[in-house]
Amino acid sequence: MSDFPWLLAMIAVPAVGGAAVAALPKGRDLLVKQVTLAVSALVLVLAVLATVAFDTGGDRFQLTTSVSWIPAFGVDFALGVDGIALVMLLLIGVLVPVVVVASWEDTGPGGRSTKAYFAWLLVLEAMMVGVFAATDVFLFYVFFEAMLVPMYFIIGSFGGPRRQYAAVKFFLYSLLGGLVMLASVIGLYVVSNSQLGEGTFAFDALRQLDIDPGVQKLLFLGFFVAFAIKAPLVPFHTWLPDSGAEAPIGGGVLLVGVLDKVGTFGFIRYCLPLFPDASRTFAPWILGLAVAGILYGALLAMGQSDLKRFVTYTSIAHFGFIALGIFAFTAEGGSGAVLYMVNHGISTGILFLAVGMLISRGGSRSIADYGGVAKKAPVLAGVFLVAGLSSLALPGTNSFVSEFLVLLGSFPTRPVFTIVATAGIVLAALYVLLVVQRTMHGPSRGLVVDKPFPDLRRRELAVVAPLIALILVLGVYPQPLLALIDPAVAATMTDIGSDPGGTPPVHEPVTAEQGAN
C-alpha cells in the first residue's frame, strides 16, 4: 500500500475534480456541489489512508514520489511528507468538505456562478496539498505562488463589498513576499551548484549544505519575509484583516485556517533546517515580533467592530504563539507549534463559520448590530461559545494542549518572551468573552429582533458537529497527532542543533527509588 502515490493522488484528485466541475453544464448547481463534496471527501479519505501508511518510526520523508521535471536545472516534481506536513494534509482533508457544506447555499455577489466558486475551491485544495507535500524547493515555490490564483478569484469574485481592494492587496503582498523568496531559492541553487558540483532544489540535499553564515542570513531573510507575510507577523499583517473580512466565509476559513499556515510551516520546514545559524542569529528579533504580535493582535481584536476582522486579528495573535514555539528551538515548543497549526485551523475555522452563520441571519458584519442572540438561537450561541473557548485555549479543548506546549516549551530557553506572551492568555479571554457578551448576551436587540433569526439548521449542524468533535477529542487525547509530529520536530531540532529529545531539566527529580535508598 505504501507504494501507492498517495500525495500525487491528493493533488490530482481535486485538480481533476476542479476541472470537471468547471466543465459541468450551466445551471446544474446541485450537481456541482455534490461533485465538489464527493471529490473533497475522497481527498479526506486519501489523507486518512496516507496517515495509516505513514510509519512514525520510519524515514523523515515518506510516501515519496519523484519525477524529473526540469532536468536542466535539477528540478524534480518531488513529493513526500514528514509528520508536520502530514498533519497539515489531514487538516486540509477535514476542512475542505466542511467548507463545501458550509457554502452550500451561498451565492456570489450579483448571482455569480457558484460553479466557478466550487471549482476554485477544489483547485485551491490541490495547490494547498502541493505546497505542503513538495520536497523540492522549486516545486514548493511554484505551489506557493500558484496557490494565490484560486484564492485571488475566491476573494475577488465572491467576496464582500470591498473584495477587489482586498484581493489586490492580498496579491500585492504575496507578490512582494514571493519575489523575495524566489531570490533566495535561486541563491540556494547557486550555493548547491558551487558546493555539490551540480545545482539541486532537493530539500534533503540542500539541508546538508554548509552555507557561509553571511550568505545564510541573506537567504534566510528571503524566505522569512515571504513566510512572515503569509502567516502574518506584525507588522506584515495588514493585508489579512482586509482579505479575511472580504473573503466569502468558506474562503476565509481556508485562507486563515490553512493557507496562512504555509508561513509557519515554512519557518519550521525551510528556515530552521536550511539556515540554522541565521535562524539562531535572528531568533531574538523574530521572537520579539512574535510576542508583539500576540499582544498587538489581541488588543486589536478587542478594538474591532467588524466580526470577520475580529476573527482575523485573533489569528494574528495565534500566529504569534506559533512563531514563539518554533523560534524557541525546543522539541516541546516545536511540537506545540505544529499542533497549534492544526488546532488553530480547526478553532478559527469554526469561529469563522459561526460568525458566518450569524452574518447570514443578520446581514451585517458589525458587532454592534447584534445582541442577545442566545435567547433566539441558543445552539448558535453555544457553538460560538465553544469556538471562542477553543480560541482562548481553555483546557479540555484542542487549543489548550498546543498553547500550553508552546509556552512550556519556550519557557526554558526564552523565559522573558514567554512571560510576556502569557499576557496573551488573559487578553484572549478578554477579547473572546467581550464579543460573546456583546453579541450573545443581554436582551435581544438590533438585527436579532428585526430579522427572524432562526437557530441552526440541520446543514449548519452538520458543518459544526465534526469540528466540535475534533475540538473535544483533541482536547483530551492529542497524543495520536503528537506521535505523528514529534519525530519530524525532533529531526528539525537536530538540524538546528537543539536537543531532539527535548529540554533536559536543570535538576534530576528525585525518583521514588532514590528516595527509598
Binding site: 535561486i186 547557486v190 493585508w239 483546557p395 500550553f404 523565559p415 443581554g442
Partner: protein, 635 residues
C-alpha cells in the same frame, strides 16, 4: 510519598469524575427531550459520585499508606514532557471529593425547587454537573497539569453559571469579570508549572513535591509565589477579590456551591497540596499569611456595609477564606486547621446561602435587606437553619466555627513574636467584625418590623429546598466538634501533611484565646444590636455617611483601582492601536503600494489591471529565474 497503584474500587475512582461529566453531556446534547427528567439525572450522577466517594474513603482508610494512584492514559508525551491523565486518591483529595459531592448533591436537590419555574432548568443542571466534574478533576488529578485543567474547567462552569440569566447585562458582565480575573491568577499557576518543568522536567505531584529539596531557594520561592497568584484569583483573595461579590449575579444555589463551599476554596487546596513547596519557602509563606490577613479585613469591613444579603455573605466568604489562607500559610501547624475550617465553612456557608435563597424565594427574588425584616415567624425553618449557620459562622461556643476558627487563631498567635501577635490580633478582630455584620444581617432579615414592599408575600419554601438546609444546619452544628475532637482531621490527613505535633508551648493558652475570641464576638454582636436591632432600619441607605463607611460600601475601592489602572488605560491603548493600525501601519503599506502601483486611488479601485501586471510580474520573474539558473549552471 509515592502513591501505590490503586486496586479494587479505588481503581475506578475516575468514575467520580465521569459520572457528573456524563450527566452534563447528556443534558447538553439531549436538548429539550431531557427537560422532564434532566434534573433527576443530574441528582443521580452527583449522588452516585458521593456514594462512590464514601466507599472510596472507607477503602482508603483501610490502607497502610492511604495514598493510591490511578493512571488512565498518556495525556501528552512530547520531548521531555510526560503528562499522564491520572488521579491521586489520598486523604486530602478524597476529603475534598466528599465535600464536593456531598454538599453538591444537597444543592442539586435544593435547586429542583429553587429553579422549578425557570424554563432553562435543564441547562442549569447540566452546568452544575459540569462544575462538579471539573472540581473533582481539580482535586483528584495527580499532577499540576491535571489540576490546571480542572482549575480552568471550574472557571468555565463558574462563568456559565454566573451568566446563567444572560439576558441581564449585570450577570453577563459579572461572569466575564470573574473569568478574566481568574485568568490573571491562572497565568501565575501556568508559569509555576513552566518553572517546575524547566527545573525538574516533570509536573506530577510525586515528581515535583518529592524533589523540592534539590531546587535553589529562590526558585522554590518563585514557584510558591506564582502558585499563590493562582490561588488568589480562584479564591477571591487580595488583590484579586473584586470578582467574587459580583458573582452573586448567578442563581443562589450557584453562590452556595461554587462561590462559597467549593470552587473558591480551591486556592486553599492548591497551597495545601503544594505544602512541600511552601514549607521550603518561608518568604512565600509570609506572603500567604499577609494576604490572608489583609483579605480577612477587606472582606469583613465590606461585609459590614452592604445591604444586599448575598453580597454580605459573599464578602463573608472572602473573609473566611482569608482565615484559611492564614492557616495554610502558617505551615505544618496550620494545614489541617485550614482544611478543617474549609470543611465547616463549606457546611455553614452553603447553608447560609441556601437560606438566603429561600428568603429570596419567599420575597420575590429581592435581596435588599432594608426591605426585609420580621421574617422569623413567616419562614420558621429557614430562620432556624439560617440561625444555626449564623451561630456556627460567628463562632458561637461549641458550634462548628468555634472549633475551626479558634484553631486558626491559636495557630496564628503560636507563630510567636510580633508577627504572631499581629496576625492573631487581626484574626480576633476579624471574628468580631464577622459577628457584627452577621448579626446585622440576622436582625435586618429576620427581626424587627416588616419593611416589605407591597406586592411581597413571604412564605416558607417547599420541602425539597428546606430539607437540604436542615442537613447543612446539622453539619454546621456538629462538623467542627466531630472534625476537631471526635475524628481529628489532622490524624486523617497525616499521610499528606505529616503527623500532627502538639505545639511545644503556646504563646497564649488556648483557653484564654477561646475566651478572648468569644468576648470579642459577643461585643461584635452587641454592637450590631445597638446599631441595628434597637432602632428602626431605614428602607433606603443613608446617603450622608462618614468616609470609612463610604469606603466600606465601595469595598475599599478595589473596582475603582482596577478600572483606573487597568481597564481605562487598556481601552485607550486599544483605541490608539486600532487607529495606528488603520492609519499608520496600513497607511504606510498602502502608500508604498501606491508608490509602486501608480496612485492610491488606483489601488483602491484596482481591478483586473493589477492582475495583469502581476501576471506580467510572474512572467518577468520566470524569465529572471531561467536566466539566473542558466547563468549559474553555465558558470
Amino acid at each position: 510519598m509515592n502513591p501505590v497503584p490503586a486496586t479494587g474500587l479505588l481503581s475506578a475512582s475516575w468514575l467520580l469524575i465521569a459520572l457528573p461529566l456524563a450527566g452534563a453531556a447528556v443534558l447538553l446534547l439531549g436538548g429539550k427531550r431531557t427537560d422532564r427528567w434532566g434534573h433527576l439525572l443530574a441528582i443521580t450522577t452527583v449522588t452516585g459520585a458521593f456514594v462512590l466517594a464514601v466507599l472510596s474513603a472507607v477503602d482508603l482508610a483501610g490502607l497502610d499508606d492511604r495514598s493510591v494512584g490511578v493512571d488512565l492514559y498518556t495525556f501528552v508525551s512530547t520531548g521531555q514532557l510526560e503528562v499522564s491523565a491520572g488521579l491521586l486518591v489520598d486523604p486530602l483529595s478524597i476529603t475534598f471529593a466528599l465535600l464536593i459531592t456531598g454538599v453538591g448533591a444537597l444543592i442539586h436537590v435544593y435547586s429542583v425547587g429553587y429553579m422549578a419555574h425557570d424554563p432553562a432548568r435543564r441547562r442549569f443542571f447540566a452546568y452544575l454537573n459540569l462544575f462538579v466534574a471539573a472540581m473533582l478533576l481539580l482535586v483528584l488529578g495527580n499532577s499540576f497539569v491535571a489540576l490546571y485543567v480542572g482549575w480552568e474547567g471550574v472557571g468555565l462552569a463558574s462563568y456559565l453559571l454566573i451568566a446563567f440569566w444572560y439576558t441581564r447585562p449585570a450577570a453577563a458582565t459579572a461572569a466575564k469579570k470573574a473569568f478574566i480575573m481568574n485568568r490573571v491568577g491562572d497565568v501565575g499557576l501556568a508559569l509555576a508549572i513552566f518553572l517546575m518543568f524547566t527545573q525538574l522536567g516533570t509536573t506530577s505531584y510525586a515528581g515535583v513535591l518529592g524533589s523540592v529539596g534539590v531546587l535553589a531557594g529562590g526558585t522554590v520561592t518563585a514557584i510558591g509565589l506564582l502558585l499563590l497568584l493562582g490561588a488568589c484569583g480562584k479564591s477571591g483573595q487580595f488583590p484579586l477579590q473584586a470578582w467574587l461579590p459580583d458573582a452573586m449575579e448567578g442563581p443562589t444555589p450557584v453562590s452556595a456551591l461554587i462561590h462559597a463551599a467549593t470552587m473558591v476554596t480551591a486556592g486553599v487546596y492548591l497551597i495545601a497540596r503544594s505544602a512541600p513547596v511552601f514549607d521550603a519557602a518561608p518568604a512565600a509563606q509570609t506572603v500567604v499569611v499577609i494576604i490572608g490577613a489583609i483579605t480577612i479585613m477587606i472582606g469583613a469591613i465590606a461585609g459590614c456595609a452592604y445591604d444586599d444579603i448575598k453580597k454580605v455573605l459573599a464578602w463573608s466568604t472572602v473573609s473566611q477564606i482569608g482565615y484559611m489562607f492564614l492557616a495554610v500559610g502558617l505551615g505544618p501547624v496550620g494545614y489541617a486547621a485550614g482544611i478543617a475550617h474549609l470543611l465547616t465553612h463549606g457546611f455553614f456557608k452553603a447553608g447560609l446561602f441556601l437560606g438566603a435563597g429561600s428568603v429570596m424565594h419567599g420575597m420575590g427574588d429581592r435581596t435588599d435587606m432594608r426591605r426585609f425584616g420580621g421574617l422569623a415567624t413567616k419562614m420558621t425553618t429557614t430562620f432556624v437553619t439560617f440561625g444555626l449557620g449564623y451561630l456556627a459562622l460567628i463562632g458561637f461556643p461549641f458550634l462548628s466555627g468555634y472549633w475551626t476558627k479558634d484553631a486558626i487563631i491559636e495557630a496564628a498567635f503560636d507563630r510567636g513574636g510580633a508577627s504572631g501577635y499581629l496576625l492573631g490580633g487581626v484574626a480576633v478582630l476579624g471574628a468580631g467584625l464577622t459577628a457584627f455584620y452577621m448579626t446585622r444581617l440576622m436582625l435586618m432579615t429576620f427581626f424587627g418590623k416588616p419593611r416589605w414592599e407591597d406586592d411581597v408575600h413571604p412564605h416558607e419554601s417547599p420541602a425539597v429546598m428546606t430539607l437540604p438546609m436542615v442537613v447543612l444546619a446539622v453539619g454546621s452544628v456538629a462538623a467542627g466538634f466531630l472534625l476537631v475532637e471526635v475524628f481529628p482531621l489532622a490524624g486523617w490527613l497525616a499521610p499528606v501533611f505529616g503527623e500532627p505535633e502538639e505545639a511545644a508551648a503556646h504563646t497564649i493558652p488556648p483557653l484564654v484565646v477561646s475566651v478572648l475570641v468569644t468576648v470579642v464576638v459577643a461585643l461584635g454582636a452587641l454592637t450590631a444590636w445597638l446599631f441595628v436591632g434597637r432602632r428602626e432600619v431605614p428602607t433606603t441607605a443613608p446617603a450622608r455617611v462618614s468616609v470609612p463607611v463610604r469606603a466600606a460600601r465601595n469595598a475599599l475601592y478595589a473596582d475603582q483601582v482596577n478600572e483606573a489602572v487597568f481597564m481605562r488605560p487598556g481601552m485607550w491603548l486599544t483605541r490608539a492601536l486600532v487607529w495606528v493600525d488603520n492609519r499608520g501601519v496600513d497607511g504606510v503599506v498602502n502608500g508604498i503600494g501606491a508608490g509602486l502601483g501608480g496612485s492610491s486611488s488606483r489601488l483602491g479601485r484596482a481591478q483586473t489591471g493589477f492582475v495583469r501586471s502581476y501576471a506580467l510580474g510572474m512572467l518577468g520573474g520566470a524569465v529572471l529565474v531561467v536566466g539566473a539558473l542558466v547563468a549559474v549552471t553555465a558558470g
